[in-house]
Symmetry: C2
Subunit: 175 residues, 2 copies
Amino acid sequence: MAAPQFSVFIATSLDGFIAGPGDDLDFLKAVESPPEDYGYAKFAASVDALLMGRRTYDKVVAMGEWFYGDKPVYVVTNRPGTSTHGEKFVSGTPKELAGQLEGAGHRRVYLDGGNLIRQFLAEGLVTDLTVSLIPVLLGSGIPLFGGTGAPCELSFDSADSYPTGLVQLRYRVKH
Amino acid sequence: MAAPQFSVFIATSLDGFIAGPGDDLDFLKAVESPPEDYGYAKFAASVDALLMGRRTYDKVVAMGEWFYGDKPVYVVTNRPGTSTHGEKFVSGTPKELAGQLEGAGHRRVYLDGGNLIRQFLAEGLVTDLTVSLIPVLLGSGIPLFGGTGAPCELSFDSADSYPTGLVQLRYRVKH
C-alpha cells in the first residue's frame, strides 16, 4: 500500500478566486462551451475517490446536482450531515485523512475546496494541480491560495489555451 | 491627443505574489535563463514612459541597477525623493496621472507596482496585462491583485510556456 495521490482540478479567476462574493460562481458561465469540458471527464475518470471541504460540499448540494456518479465521496467536516449519495463525513488532520483513504484502498483522490487544498499543500500531500484560469478579475471573493499557505515548489507540466480564453495550467508538486 | 495606454508586464508566483515576505524576489531566480528575457526587451521597446509606485521604485533603487535607459520614469509618491536618472516624482489620482502623462505626449506607459496597478485597474485605465507565472507557491508576500480590487473583465490574447516552467499570459482589459 502507498499513500494515495491527491490531485487538484479547479478553476480560478486570474486574480485567484474560486468564487466571487457570496460564493458566486457566475464567472464560470463565461467559459461554458459544451461539449468542451476542459478535460474534466478525463480527470474525473482518473480518480477513484473525492475528498472535499464542507463549504464546497454544501455548495454542491445547493446546486441540486450530483457530479460524482458512484465514486466514493468523503466530506471533511466537524458538523453533522445527511448523506444523500453515499458520501461519508470524515474529520482529522490531512495526514490522518490520507491514512484513512489509503486504508480504503484509494490510489488517486480528487481534492476539492480552498481550505482543504491549502491544508494538504502545507503538509506536502498534494501531488499535482490543474488550474484553469478564467479571463476575469473578480476583485474579491473566496481565494484558492489566499496568502495563508506555506511555500511550495512546483514543476510545470503543460498548459493549454481554449477559444473561450480559459487557460489550463498543469503542475506537479516537488517533494 | 488620446489618453496613453497603460500596460502591465509583471511576474507572479502561481499564488499571485509579486514578491515574497520582506519584498524577497529570490523566487525569480529559478526562471533566470539568459539570454531568454521572456519578451521584456520587446515590451520595454514598445513603451515610451514608465509609471511606477514608490515601493517598486525604492526596490529598484536598492538593487543598484537602472533598467530603463533614458526612458522617462515617473514615480508616484507623496514623499520626497532624490532623482538619480532623471526620474520625476509625481502624485495624484490615476485619472490625474493619466492626464499628466497624456499632456507629456506619452502613448504607451509601462505601469509597475501592485498598488498602482490595482488603482489603475479600479479606474478602468489599464489597457493590457502580461503576467508571467513562476512555478512556485510562495504562500505569503506582496500580492499583485490581493482581493482589494474591482471586478474587471479580460479578453485573453495569448500564452506561451518556456522550458523553465514560466508561463506567460497576455490579456486585454475589456472596457
